[in-house]
Symmetry: C2
Subunit: 437 residues, 2 copies
Amino acid sequence: MNTIRLHKEHLQQFISAEELSDIRKEVLAAKQTLVSCTGKGNDFLGWIDLPQDLSPEIIKSIKNDVSALAPKASLFVVIGIGGSYLGARAVIEALQSEFASMENNSHPYVIYAGHTLSEDYYHQLLQMLDTHDYALAVISKSGTTTEPAVAFRIIKAHLEQKYGKSAAAERIIAITDARRGALHDIAKQEGYRSYVIPDNVGGRFSVLTPVGLLPIAMAGYDIEKLIKGACDMREICTTSDTLEENPALMYAAIRNILYRKGRKVEILENFVPNLKYISEWWKQLYGESEGKEGKGILPHSLSFTTDLHSMGQYVQEGERLMFETVISVAQPRHQVTIPSDPQNLDGINYLLGKTLTEINHNAELGTILAHVDGGVPVLRIEIPTVDEYVLGQLIYFFEFACGVSGYMLGVNPFDQPGVEAYKKNMFRLLGKPGYEK
Amino acid sequence: MNTIRLHKEHLQQFISAEELSDIRKEVLAAKQTLVSCTGKGNDFLGWIDLPQDLSPEIIKSIKNDVSALAPKASLFVVIGIGGSYLGARAVIEALQSEFASMENNSHPYVIYAGHTLSEDYYHQLLQMLDTHDYALAVISKSGTTTEPAVAFRIIKAHLEQKYGKSAAAERIIAITDARRGALHDIAKQEGYRSYVIPDNVGGRFSVLTPVGLLPIAMAGYDIEKLIKGACDMREICTTSDTLEENPALMYAAIRNILYRKGRKVEILENFVPNLKYISEWWKQLYGESEGKEGKGILPHSLSFTTDLHSMGQYVQEGERLMFETVISVAQPRHQVTIPSDPQNLDGINYLLGKTLTEINHNAELGTILAHVDGGVPVLRIEIPTVDEYVLGQLIYFFEFACGVSGYMLGVNPFDQPGVEAYKKNMFRLLGKPGYEK
């Protein structure tokens, strides 16, 4: 099998066959609303057909940019916030070594900016950039979002001082609106290479546009395989009306049943730490799509087994607020042998002959059984391995399920009105022209 | 001011003066139970007097180990899980540059193992260790906890192959039980330098023992200042019975009032990303201490402003399950200027003349006001800056408040019975002798 699969055998005591069958109509109606573009937020559904509609010219252009910049940059700074960096970071961190920053890589190591206002962070960043060759992408629809705008001013000045204005311009790629906006205008004026963020794709659904694809390719990963994975999952998600065959529909069904039964928190879990940023990307996708009108499941995430020695106690015996969704990786990419020790003082000789992954899978099953015993429903999403093709599937699966789930909840899954609230206050406090009152 | 302070002005519409005054007796009773060592789990209260009781010989010995190992190791591997690494990691990541792994440092860069069973992780780790000089600490009370035991076997074999058995032994420090256990026996047999984990200090309260102090010192930070901060906070926490003067009592009071009013999730937030692992340490401290008997506040954490463009929508408009606790840093350690740009295409010239920290503080206030408007209580913990002294205060503050809060909840805050559940299942599944049934 090389397709992601849902396993719901650990939900049996929490969800009956009848409940699943009762909700089927509702799931299919939500799916129909989504694919027919007749629901709320239907001007932001460009992501549905993105994987198959992506033009070969964009792929080619991205590859050219990688060829041009990779040889002269050991670092690539991605300036963006929220959906402008989380998708790329999720894919890159899933694929690269945990120690990539300390190794010599064939491609630039990607670092991030424009996602914080920490003064210490920018000091540390500039100090480090002093001694490294770098290039950058600045990603913003408008170009006026405070965090990336501030970061771009600071880093652009550093880059121009380091290489001179015209050589610096060759190291900058803008990803922005097709026709208007501050970043569009700056890119035009300065002659930056640039890519378009499609009008009909919101930030949290943008990883399969140049927003995600350029940084992922720059880090050395195969974006065509990523897109192929998304295309194949699109085929399943959009065509099948059978819950048992369409994992996105089943996921949407299960989480809505559990939510209606009072499970107001979903914990996304992994047993391999390189999926940590997949959880961060997922939190934005679901939190921002569903958390409105006083409704929505609160997204949470944990990394096991380490967090079994942290939040494990709570999940086992605390308030029964939550359900868990485990991303389970069937095959690792590498092998490591546990050395034998005749003395066996540590008592782990009984593990000899088992792979680490076998031990990890038993930790996972042991955890699931313990938590179910403790009264927590657990859904398992099995992925064949961690590679570009599988990540493409996983991304599309989560996106499609999110659209269906949001419509089932009765909200517009494609807006984010609440994000403006802090900005308005901040602008007023900072005395931004037009916001003084 | 150089002491951490609680600000509760944004709680006014959620907690009345009467509610606070009503709970006062209960808070003081819990404090009394704690300091008189008369409550549940009172054989694990060694942490209360740790900061002042720490022997100068231990500090001296740690400094000697740092002097001996730092010149010959660019990396220091800390092998431990849960409380055996989270405290050290929280302090080190708060103090070091975000880009420390990419810089030449005067002290070893600390990396972590024994906190995962991911096969890919160990493959990547060994590959990286091939090309770096390193030393390690292995931290385990028993020496038989699966994750660190497996990691130690793997890395010990690598180290011995790299340097030879006797030179490898000089690069290994064991932190374990004083008298018994597998790691104690291995250390004795192999002649490792070793430190004791006190019997009366649980893992999640152990950061001010050698468990935390050795790695923190190895990374180049001043553990005496850290301890001084904890001592000074201990004085305040243990002596003052006035909620307004004792931040630990006030924090315990507020979170219990909010919990009883249905706020079942606490989100710990920062506006500077280097505090991320303070949140991870805090999650273990509170989740493991309080999440039992079907009770306890579910710990969650976010990093702002980045997560305002992710989970911000949910906090603003989703289910009203939560309250927020913001760790607010008054002073940065460094300064960065925003360059001016006469064209002002990005429209941020109105920020010129303001420091980044000033902008960040206004983002923080703007966020708090927006969330309070949205119906979320917000508590603010102001810390003067991020240094060893302040972190020592913060650690002790959270620990003391946790003890008081746990007693108010009616649980034993110092055990973790639920952590055994997954282990028992895993041992059975793996066929560990004695667990086959």
